[in-house]
Amino acid sequence: MEMDPLLAGVIGMGALIVMVFLGVRVYIAATLVGMLGIVSIIGWDAGTGIVGTIPHSKSTLYSLSVLPMFILIGYLAFHAGITTAAFDAAKKWVGWVPGGLAVATVFSAAGFAAVSGASTATAAVFSRVAIPEMLNNGYDRRLAAGVVAAGGTLASLIPPSAILVIYAIIVEESVGALLLAGFIPGIVSALIYALIIMGRATVNPKLGPPVRGFTFNDRMKSLPGTFPIIAVIGIIFSAIYGGWATPTEAGALGAFVVLIFAFFHGMRTKELKDALFETAKLTVMIFSIIWGVLVFVRFLGFSGLPEAFAEWILGLPLPPTAIIILILCGYAILGMFMDAIGMLLLTLPVVFPAVIGLGFDPIWFGIIVVKMVEICLITPPIGLNCYVVNGVRPDIPLSDVFRGIGPFFIADVITVGLFIAFPWLITWLPQTLLN
């Protein structure tokens, strides 16, 4: 029952969307559609034979072994006392600016992001560390809640970031380049958040008064606690740039350093066990969806659908920038309903070739897309980060958290606009360091 490949591709894409909407797990839906699609084009025996090799061959790629390491760093980071130390240091160094404590929250969240890749978890931790101090200092409740929910989103861009590794694997780009590329955009996002806070606090000083009175000595003393952050950034950057270790080895070293700190900070064996179990669960989830989607990608390759889609996109009577903005809006909508990893894996096989066909840089697109899915974590209708803040601080109504997010949402739109206008903000660092 061999079928026209392109037709099979279109039907397959449709079937996949229907199944995912009906609640079939993404790895199952992608495998089924991919398998039926390949079988419809090359027959049962050859088709299922190919599919049978994919779970093994695609999950034993050395480059993927970095994922559990990065995930482990993230889970261990909560036990290493990094958040309190980072917030304390940031407060002492930048607390004197208008809205100082909120600015300190942004920078310490960015620092914590360097050891944790999880946005929601970062928001949870800072709800406990930063919000009480802001409220005690008379900060506006909405500002305090908003900055924590938004600060959490910095985690996916600043390395180590698991989602950037997944993007790199699925579009076959360098993992190292993607990780380096996230750094400057993460900092730019943080700076724009900080500028917005300072601007608002200057106009209305009641929003967030500065905190002063720290001596240079106080400041220097606050630094040693942030050592795990510096160590993890240092290890990963120097390993990728200097080539003295693979990303997996750098991740292993980073995890080990954080583990030692966590033990010194009083982590118990049960907490280590929990962290490892959670890491294992998230790892198998990511690996399953990767091989499942790669079955589907193999089918797409046979069908020629990505090329046809790219041709259609290139034929549109619109400038590339307009098309990319439309695609990003599509991601913003999808991101409201779907988990970031599932969404990226399902859409990239078709969307990515078209974006590259339009002349955009693959690394640049990865960062932009990840930034978009992060924005979805703070916007209604779901806005998971906002719920997390509300859950930890029930005294702050959810409506206040969502209102507090407003200025940061605007900041994010400005940031994405900047990245579209000045793509070198993203591409410069990996190009300079890796060429």
């Binding site: 009906l22 079939v24 993404v26 779970p55 093994h56 997996t248 294992a280 669960k281 790892t283 198998v284």
Partner: protein, 222 residues
């Protein structure tokens, strides 16, 4: 995202429920091995860097070891993750249903999983058999590849049993929607997901204390 409702109280005395409990223990154990493998990869990575840089003695076959052990953390926890509803899906529409219609669609989605895994067990077994008969080995130190390939149909076998348990669990609920929920994950709303995130970051205590705006939630739930 969904979570598991552990069988409790009446109904949990049935053979079905006790099989589910026993099987869950096996899943937990395998996920524990997966967790250990991750720890091992970390230790091996640290040892490799230190021994290569400081002693100029790289571990022989390091990449082969890692690649072969990846099968453990890529597959050992697969049924565990399925039980806890950890595999990515979109429950936007599912969350709108209740009782029978919900259990019907859940059963359908589970049946699809069962079929896919049945075929995968067969094809991945053949893939293992080829490697075994041909004596495939790794490039670096010539480790045999077949053990890693054997793990995959075995892990899929575990997953098959888990899917079968969930299918029975959902069919049971279609027949009697008021029955106690056994062996199936239930859909979580955004506050449950938020609670889990809080638990991961701040521990069980904080997750238990977490409260969410009820008013706003009621509005969301139409």
């Amino acid at each position: 995202m969904t979570t598991n409702n552990l069988p409790q109280g009446s109904g949990s005395g049935s053979a079905f429920a006790s099989f589910d409990r026993g099987f869950s223990k096996l899943e937990d154990f395998l996920n524990g091995i997966s967790a250990l493998a991750i720890f091992f990869v970390m230790i091996l990575g640290v040892t490799q860097v230190l021994s290569r840089k400081l002693l100029n003695l790289p571990i022989l076959g390091y990449i082969d070891f890692i690649e072969q052990s990846m099968v453990i953390f890529a597959f050992f926890g697969i049924a565990y993750c399925q039980r806890l509803g950890g595999h990515v899906r979109m429950d936007l529409f599912m969350a709108k249903f209740n009782d029978r219609p919900l259990y019907f669609f859940e059963a359908l989605a589970t049946l699809v999983g069962l079929i896919v895994i049945t075929i995968l067990i067969d094809t991945s077994w053949l893939h293992f058999l080829r490697a075994y008969q041909l004596g495939d080995s790794t490039i670096d130190i010539g480790m045999p590849i077949w053990p890693a390939k054997l793990i995959i149909p075995l892990a899929f076998g575990m997953l098959w049993i888990r899917f079968a348990l969930q299918l029975i669990g959902f069919i049971r609920l279609i027949i009697n929607p008021n029955a106690e929920i056994i062996a199936v994950p239930v859909i979580e709303d955004v506050t449950d997901i938020a609670r889990h995130e809080i638990e991961d970051a701040l521990g069980e205590e904080a997750a238990k204390q977490a409260k969410f705006d009820e008013m706003y939630n009621k509005k969301r739930k139409k």
